[in-house]
């Protein structure tokens, strides 16, 4: 069993429950144990626009808390993962910044040491659990369903601080999906942004971006769209209907979390994976024999 401190972030905990449900169902079957911790706060990456120092400080606080367990951190939200990773990068490479932040953390009896690494769902599955183990755990292979992957900007960039997947040609999700019986192929808009962060001040533009990507997924003939971040999923799934209205098109694209579709292949019942919480037409999908 490999243990990770589970850093859930705000949106998954308070809204995108299906992601958390499917994660908690799938990972134990793959020998990953999640350690829940109290006292975490928002990573504040979405608030970088307001105050970068705040984002840096809160991310450092969360990492310092996790380090106390002596474990690496699993952050399933791409925005959290980038925020925590960038914080680690800055504090590890700039000693004076590290001292400055630790001075603030000292008031809470915390210290950022840089001993915990940070993983995301995609690299946890692909690099740690590894494909062989996933293949062996499959008992309900998906019958060649055509999957469009969405990595999301924050999972792939900026590569200079180290990201879980390649910035220009990410393929880890495709490898996982092929191993569980799905069919995948690249499409021109694969790396397009979901528009999620614009929700804060320009929601209509965010919906336009969302709608445009889903439209191209539909035109390419995919059966299902898979993502791995609550912000992205909220756009593509919860707001799909609004997105369709914004670009004046009917979308009707089934959208699933990576862990949901993986869970189906591992034989877990759809209710346990939060399928009823998806707002997109996931019930129309023929996912294996289950």
């Amino acid at each position: 069993m490999k243990k990770y401190v589970f850093y859930p972030g705000c949106v998954m905990q308070t809204e995108q429950y299906a992601y958390e449900m499917s994660i908690r169902e799938v990972l134990p079957l793959l020998d990953i144990e999640l350690v829940d911790m109290k006292d975490f706060s928002c990573c504040s990456t979405p608030l970088k626009s307001v105050n970068e120092m705040l984002a840096l400080g809160l991310s450092a606080r969360n990492l310092a808390l996790a380090e106390k367990e002596g474990l690496d951190v699993f952050a399933p939200c791409s925005i959290c993962h980038l925020g925590l990773s960038e914080c680690k990068h800055i504090l590890d490479s700039n000693p004076s910044m590290k001292i400055k932040v630790n001075n603030f953390l000292a008031d809470e009896n915390l210290e950022y040491k840089g001993t915990s690494n940070i993983v995301h769902t995609v690299d946890l599955l692909h690099d740690i659990v590894k494909i062989d183990k996933i293949k062996k755990a499959v008992n309900n292979p998906l019958n060649k369903i055509k999957v469009a992957t969405h990595y999301g900007c924050h999972l792939i960039r900026p590569s200079e601080i180290g990201r879980p997947v390649d910035s220009e040609n990410p393929q880890k999700m495709e490898t996982i999906l092929k191993a569980i019986g799905a069919e995948t192929f690249d499409y021109a808009e694969k790396l397009d942004c979901c528009g999620g962060l614009l929700n804060a001040n320009l929601p209509e533009s965010a919906l336009t971006k969302t709608g445009q990507k889903l439209q191209s997924v539909k035109e390419n003939g995919f059966d299902v769209f898979v993502d791995a971040c609550p912000w992205c999923h909220r756009q593509f799934d919860a707001k799909q209907e609004q997105a369709g209205k914004t670009i004046a098109k009917t979308l009707d694209v089934p959208v699933l979390y990576l862990t949901q579709i993986l869970g189906v292949a591992l034989g877990i019942k759809k209710e346990k994976l939060g399928f009823n919480l998806n707002n997109s037409p996931v019930d129309t999908l023929k996912l294996g024999g289950n």
Partner: protein, 175 residues
């Protein structure tokens, strides 16, 4: 009106420019002076087609020290933080980070923050999360909260007062 029109009569603010450049160097080891205006950032900018954001123009204006008008414009709030400009820039200049600095400047000057940012900030200040537990509608039209599901309690700051102290100190710290 494009950002270039807005700044045609502006005067240079050299000290503000130095402050921003210092911050970029400290945080991300970037130096905006190296930009040679190839516009690769704007060519790929996710916010350009929809919202007319021109990252390379932002850098050009910073180089000239014409910062106030950018700070006062709406354009800087159109950035989606997709980081494509940072990824692809051949001179390791990152318009996205310059834009973060400009947005921070707006907030620090006490100008109005657009949209939901203040709501999110308020929420972090009071409970430590961007939002509180929400009720969601299932696809068979039931409303569900986290407590209806078989999930552990949420993780959020236990000692709120202490957390707020920490927040208020670090929020006023200069980079």
């Amino acid at each position: 009106m494009s950002i270039v029109d807005l700044t045609s009569m502006a005067e240079s603010q050299a000290d503000v420019k130095t402050e921003i450049n210092n911050r970029l160097e400290k945080l991300q080891n970037e130096f905006s002076e190296y930009c040679y205006q190839c516009a690769k950032c704007t060519s790929g900018c996710e916010a350009h087609k929809l919202l007319e954001l021109e990252p390379h123009s932002i850098v050009a204006l910073l180089k000239r020290g014409l910062i106030d008008e950018m700070v006062n414009s709406d354009l800087i709030w159109t950035c989606m933080s997709c980081f494509k400009c940072r990824e692809r820039c051949p001179q390791k200049v990152a318009p996205v980070d310059i834009i973060f600095a400009l947005k921070n400047m707006v907030v620090a000057r006490g100008n109005q923050i657009p949209g939901n940012y203040s709501t999110m900030l308020q929420s972090v200040l009071s409970i430590g999360l961007l939002q509180d537990i929400k009720e969601v509608t299932t696809n068979d039209n039931k409303t569900i909260k986290r407590s209806d599901l078989d999930l552990p309690d949420i993780s959020k700051p236990e000692d709120v007062a202490k957390f707020q102290m920490f927040l208020s100190k670090i929020a006023v710290e200069k980079v």
